[in-house]
């Protein structure tokens, strides 16, 4: 997966990260700045992010597939090491120099050579093979792991499901920012709960019938259980400071956990989501030889006799 990342010394005296990877709320601007600051020996506030405008930043690839922390973060890290190396090789910086010396050396380099920009390109981890022409192979060398546990109550009068408790245990290599990482997982779990219990897309002739917030129901602050997040850290050697991806997994596991809990509670299996009360009602009250889905055609058939 081709990706190029840059770092530059700014005229204002700091360092700027040049990536096209876009922060859409997941906090990648924060963690990429953290990684650059840590690798360069700077304070967090010394680092800024260039706007993700491809006329000024290199193509670091798409913002997809939980890749930004693990893949782009790692390239930011190697670009930072190159930047220090560039300054030491030009004789402007001692290898052991600290923050002030580094920032001063950046400015001296800029005065002497015009600009200080360092780029680093993605290199696949040694244990995987990816073919960029055929777009086949192993795109990523490692993935996050998780366990999701849902405790539910099924009301046998209304057929509605309440989630009483939800626990997510997440192994993401290294947690780069505990507040943001926890927030990502809580938010993903909330979407997974909507996926499991509320968010039914009704199609008619190729069009979505319920394309409004009024009739496509997502969880509100009154619908969600406590979402308790725990981390397990097993640093991954080719991720920045051991980090792996985090974005998608919290949306994948919750619905299966919730459905399994409903199966255990009701003793009946369900083969579709979302499970709205009417869906659970249909399955629990269905006559074995007359599937609920055929109810209306059965009615029509009776009427024509």
């Amino acid at each position: 997966m081709n990706a190029l990342v840059g770092l530059e010394a700014t005229p204002a005296g700091g360092v700027r990260v040049l990536v096209s990877s876009t922060d859409i709320g997941q906090g990648t601007n924060t963690i990429l700045s953290q990684i650059a600051a840590e690798a360069l020996g700077l304070e967090y506030d010394d680092v800024s992010m260039a706007p993700a405008d491809t006329s000024t930043v290199p193509n670091s690839g798409p913002t997809v597939a939980s890749r930004t922390a693990m893949i782009i973060g790692k390239i930011v890290h190697t670009a930072a090491l190159k930047m220090r190396q560039t300054l030491t090789e030009s004789g402007l910086l001692e290898p052991s120099a600290g923050r002030e010396e580094f920032l001063a050396a950046c400015q001296t380099y800029r005065q002497r050579f015009g600009e200080l920009k360092c780029f680093s390109r993605y290199e696949a981890a040694p244990n995987i093979f990816w073919n960029d022409e055929l777009y086949r192979g192993e795109a990523y060398p490692a993935y996050a792991w998780a366990v999701y546990i849902a405790e539910v109550t099924v009301d046998t009068n209304t057929y509605s499901v309440t989630i009483d408790d939800f626990v997510a245990l997440q192994e993401i290599g290294k947690v780069l920012h505990p507040v943001l990482a926890t927030g990502q997982i809580e938010g993903g779990v909330a979407q997974g709960i909507g996926f499991a219990l509320y968010e039914k897309v009704v199609w008619n002739d190729g069009k979505m019938l319920n394309n409004q917030m009024t009739n496509y129901i997502m969880p509100t602050s009154e619908d969600l259980p406590p979402i308790r997040v725990f981390f397990e850290e097993m640093p991954y050697q080719y991720g920045p400071y051991g980090a792996k991806g985090i974005g998608e997994l919290p949306m994948d596991g919750p619905a299966p956990a919730i459905v399994n809990a409903i199966v255990q509670a009701t003793g009946t299996s369900f083969n579709a989501i979302p499970l709205l009360p009417e869906d659970i009602f249909r399955v629990l009250t269905a006559e074995p030889d007359r599937p609920a889905e055929d109810f209306f055609s059965a009615l029509a058939a009776e009427g024509s006799q």
């Binding site: 507040v179 927030g183 809580e186 779990v189 509100t220 602050s221 009154e222 406590p226």
Partner: protein, 168 residues
């Protein structure tokens, strides 16, 4: 007078402490007048049908979806938007708490969520979890799962109680 101008009318109200008079079509949405005529783009349009709360503002101290309010209804009213909440320097305590606790991710719901929090804390300075859930029930958030937002509300309630004040 052109036909277009003839169908407009003047509406006066106070926005964030300043008296304003706007020349508007009477059934224009308050949200559009705030954003387009007054340049107050803090309130966001999410659904445009009163479900998501991202356009929340305070009208005479009540939390309203400004996408559902015809501007004529604001005649003589006192309006407060997220811009009015923000001090010239620094942040409002509720904004600070959202920042500290990670109560915002993509940010689209955040102005409305903060207005809802302010109104919630005026009614319940030290709210229970149920009061927080109910008070923010009209403001949808897709990113956070609300948990960090609940933390933010409790954080600001705690710090304000310690200071002996209430959220203004």
């Amino acid at each position: 007078m052109s036909e277009t101008a003839a169908s407009r009318c003047e509406v006066s109200f106070t926005v964030n402490g300043a008296a304003r008079t706007v020349s508007v079509y009477p059934m224009e949405r308050l949200l559009d007048v705030l954003r387009n005529s007054l340049g107050l783009t803090g309130a966001k349009e999410g659904c445009g049908e009163g479900e998501c709360g991202s356009c929340s503002v305070l009208l005479n101290g009540e939390l309203v979806n400004s996408c559902l309010v015809p501007v004529l209804q604001a005649q003589g009213a006192e309006l407060c938007t997220i811009e009015g909440l923000t001090p010239d320097a620094g942040l409002h305590p509720v904004q600070q708490a959202f920042l500290t606790c990670g109560g915002a991710q993509c940010g689209i719901c955040t102005p409305g969520m903060i207005m809802a929090t302010v109104q919630l804390l005026r009614r319940h300075p030290t709210p229970t979890l149920e009061q927080v859930r109910e008070g923010l029930g009209g403001n949808l958030c897709r990113c956070t799962g609300y948990t960090r937002i609940f933390h933010s509300v409790f954080e600001v309630a705690k710090t304000e109680a310690e200071k002996g004040g209430t959220v203004a």
